[in-house]
């Protein structure tokens, strides 16, 4: 079995026309092939390379990671004198991925990376998380290196990035006991010793994924007496300094392969990354956007794993003299799981491509000033990336939970037992709508794109194509959904109340997301009907049901009703 070969949707997205432009921009005339023996000499070779690596990862995931997932859960990580020891199976996985050269996938070649685009990194991450979501975290944290690459000094890039490419693990140490969703209250103290010319960190971080990593990115208060986000800076701290210890590993519901740690900094020497006071307002925001895309990917991966498990079981399990997949209540579940999965994946890769394009213009801008039309495009892509990221993080994680729930349901009593993978998926899925910003916080990040009319224009843009005869009726239905969304948005605006907007925001957000996902699936179906049209049809039906509900809810709402909810 191979998790890539059996996934036609991924193959389709690898051939997306925008990916060609991304790769052409990223490879700058494919000149690196003169200097690096593994750099491609043209787009065709680059694409071939992505396919080869995806096939390798697909094989490792199916043959090693997925079979190891049970052992990872049974054993889990342990704490030994302030150091985290991974479960033996986790350590095996990590060793395998290091040997396979998969630790610096998107880093530039000059720092030992593979220089793959975000969209391809995302595909690899999807495969990894499908096999073992917890291991996906450890592996996926290599993406923190992008923050050092974007904002660190040349010396920092040259020191840390090759370490990551060679397999050093990373963590982002943001959360504290009293600073969760509200990171402005971070208290961990950074003091500068001007005699030594050295920063030191003192304090405690909590809920840190892979908290005993080799390289920590730490958000700390560098400006004494400050109380808000403007007093926070970002630091790089190495495990090898010996002054960072893990005090406790949390007992969790799921993702047992990924140790969640309470980390103590005891006068730990650290380096400032970027400028002082920009830690939260600039760097962590960028770090979080990458991390949110990562969790969105993990969510799609869990939605896929849940669907695959449910489908295989429903085909095999016989009741009433037939396979249960033939029973309407069962294929209602599996068919809709697939529709939601495909919709989430369509949005995930659309987001990844926009993030890629936005990065490419950032990179270009570091080399030379952008021409006016390049500036306009740069703005377009970065705005779209910013607008789509909270949509896919929130909706993707909710879909992962829905699919995991249905996967257990399809399995019946057996699904409640430890014997089947769906039980683990159900627990693993639960965190996706919480960490890296809850779904509620994704709504907060997204709602301005609804009220400004941005999502509405995006839906129109995605629907700006001529559908085939087979897709035409569906196309008309998605257009009608867009009209319902616009009407609901207008009604919410008419209340003229911030609190009412905040209260109804989740519904507006979901309506926008449903419209966008349905439109994207329909677009994909225009490129490959066989692959996407059935899912587009099923997803549109789900979108209609959900949007009609929200429409009714908002239609009957009045601001005075808020008091009922506060009781």
């Amino acid at each position: 079995m191979n998790y890539y070969s059996d996934n036609d949707a991924l193959k389709h997205y690898l051939k997306h026309p925008l990916l060609r432009r991304i790769v052409d921009m990223k490879e700058r005339g494919y000149a690196a092939s003169e200097e690096y023996d593994y750099a491609p000499c043209g787009f065709d070779e680059a694409l071939l390379g992505y396919e080869q690596v995806l096939e390798l990862v697909g094989e490792l995931c199916a043959d090693v990671l997925a079979p190891n997932a049970g052992r990872v859960e049974e054993c889990g990580p342990s704490l030994n004198d302030g150091r985290v020891e991974y479960a033996p199976a986790t350590a095996e996985n990590l060793d395998l991925f290091r040997k396979a050269g998969l630790m610096g996938v998107s880093l530039p070649r000059r720092y030992g990376g593979l220089n793959f685009p975000v969209a391809v990194f995302t595909m690899i991450q999807e495969l990894v998380c499908r096999a073992d979501a917890g291991f996906g975290n450890l592996w996926g944290l290599q993406d923190c290196a992008a923050t050092i690459n974007s904002f660190g000094s040349d010396e920092q890039r040259e020191r840390y990035l090759p370490m990551v490419s060679a397999g050093a693990t990373m963590s982002m140490d943001l959360t504290e006991p009293d600073a969760g969703s509200d990171l402005q209250s971070v208290r961990l103290k950074a003091t500068y010793d001007s005699e030594q010319g050295q920063w030191y960190l003192d304090g405690v971080k909590r809920f840190i994924t892979n908290g005993d990593s080799d390289i920590h990115l730490v958000l700390a208060r560098s400006e004494e007496g400050s109380v808000d986000g403007r007093g926070l800076s970002l630091f790089i701290c190495e495990k090898s300094c010996g002054r960072v210890r893990t005090r406790r590993i949390e007992e969790k519901m799921g993702i047992h392969g990924s140790p969640t740690c309470e980390v103590v900094f005891d006068h730990a020497p650290a380096e400032l990354c970027g400028s002082r006071r920009m830690g939260l307002i600039k760097y962590v925001m960028s770090l979080m956007n990458g991390a949110r895309l990562g969790i969105a990917t993990q969510s799609v991966a869990i939605a896929q794993a849940a669907y695959s498990e449910a489908l295989a079981y429903a085909k095999e399990r016989r009741q009433f003299g037939k396979a249960i997949i033939e029973l309407p209540p069962v294929y209602d579940m599996t068919g809709n799981m697939k529709a939601r999965l495909d919709a989430a994946r369509a949005l995930l890769y659309e987001t990844a491509r926009n993030v890629d394009m936005s990065y490419q213009f950032d990179e270009l801008q570091r080399e030379r000033p952008l021409a006016p039309e390049e500036r306009a495009e740069s703005k377009l892509f970065s705005k779209r990336a910013d607008a789509l990221t909270p949509l896919i993080k929130g909706m993707g994680s909710e879909i992962a939970n829905l699919n995991a729930y249905d996967a257990v349901q399809v399995h019946g009593g057996s699904g409640y037992m430890r014997d089947y993978a769906c039980e683990r998926l159900y627990r693993d899925a639960r965190i996706t709508s919480i960490y890296e910003g809850t779904t509620q916080l994704q709504v907060v990040a997204a709602i301005r794109y609804a009220t400004s009319g941005y999502y509405g224009r995006l839906i129109d843009e995605y629907l700006d194509f001529v559908p085939s005869a087979a897709a035409a009726p569906l196309y008309a239905r998605v257009k009608a959904l867009a009209a319902s969304y616009a009407a609901a948005l207008e009604r919410v605006a008419s209340f003229n109340s911030q609190e009412t907007l905040d209260f109804l925001a989740r519904r507006i957000y979901e309506m926008a997301a449903y419209c966008i996902m349905a439109a994207l699936l329909l677009r994909d179906a225009a490129a490959d009907e066989g692959l996407f049209l059935a899912s587009a049809s099923r997803f549109t039906a789900l979108a209609e049901a959900a949007i009609a509900g929200h429409e009714r809810y908002i239609g009957n709402f009045e601001t005075e009703l808020l008091t009922h909810y506060k009781q």
Partner: protein
């Protein structure tokens, strides 16, 4: 001190994942129904070679395979996993070889390579399952051999200490270099293909492949000599044509039969202490256990 290491590898039909009809009606293997893969035990051998290379800086791992043009695929696979060089031994004169003729051709190729300290190969191939080629090659080259190796424990410029799997246990032996080791399936699994090496060595090609119109990496091949896979014919390696291929193969296949295992008689046992005790008694009596 560096070592010159040769790994003998075979491309085999994947008998574990047979799709469609695995055997033709005439008893030969239907290769089109079976994907061609790197013989599993030979991957274990490659891993031992790469471990030796890690232990002895500056060592070189050369992989030799005999087969048709497409067998170059497993040479590339070996490069992806860490080998330094690949040689395809390919000639019509080698076709139809049994284990004896194969061993002869391989030993001639090894003579042509010239310098070597350790030759490694898998214990047996999953298509023929004879486990004869390794020992025969050692014999033809007049080398000591250690078969069924599970682990190389020590290695120096003059000797190797290895654990070999034997009936009911493990034996530790020391043998002088140069020598041949056949590696057991119980040895460490081969490391994965490496992404960087794949991106580079997917361009590796034999002279024949490089000459094909679809080959797009001539410029790279000129710059990067490691991309050249060698292709040797009988003429290159020299040798007696009468000892090669069908002509040199005393083995003649008369017929191949499909054997389907069927339970002829079965006995039902309950989980009661009495039944378990009687089964144990029976197994002890016929020496299945104990």
């Amino acid at each position: 001190m560096s070592l010159k290491i040769i790994v003998l590898a075979k491309q085999v039909p994947d008998t574990r994942n047979a799709g469609g009809k695995a055997m033709n009606d005439d008893g030969t293997i239907n290769r089109s129904a079976l994907p061609a893969i790197f013989n599993p035990d030979d991957l274990n051998a490659l891993e031992q070679a790469l471990l030796l290379k890690e232990r002895h800086a500056g060592s070189k791992v050369t992989v030799i395979t005999m087969g048709p043009a497409r067998a170059a695929d497993i040479l590339r696979e070996a490069l992806y996993r860490g080998a330094d060089e690949g040689i395809l031994l390919s000639d019509r004169a080698f076709a139809g070889a049994d284990t004896l003729a194969t061993s002869y051709a391989l030993s001639q190729a090894i003579r042509k390579v010239g310098e070597y300290d350790v030759i490694l190969c898998g214990r047996q191939a999953i298509d023929g399952d004879t486990a004869q080629v390794g020992p025969q090659v050692a014999h033809m080259l007049g080398l000591p051999q250690v078969t069924g190796v599970r682990r190389v424990m020590e290695s120096s410029s003059s000797a190797i200490v290895a654990e070999r799997v034997i009936d009911n246990g493990v034996e530790t032996v020391k043998a002088p270099l140069p020598l041949l080791l056949t590696v057991d399936a119980a040895a460490a699994p081969c490391r994965p293909r490496n992404a960087y090496r794949m991106l580079r060595f997917h361009r590796a090609a034999t002279p024949q492949e490089q000459a094909a119109p679809g080959y797009a990496y001539r410029a790279q091949a000129e710059r990067d000599p490691a991309l050249a896979l060698k292709e040797w014919s009988l003429e290159h390696v020299g040798g007696d044509p009468a000892r090669c291929g069908l002509a040199g193969s005393p083995t003649k296949v008369k017929a191949v039969e499909n054997v389907v295992f069927k339970a002829k008689e079965s006995k039902r046992l309950t989980a009661s202490d009495e039944d378990i005790k009687s089964l144990l008694g029976e197994l002890l009596a016929n020496h299945t256990i104990g």
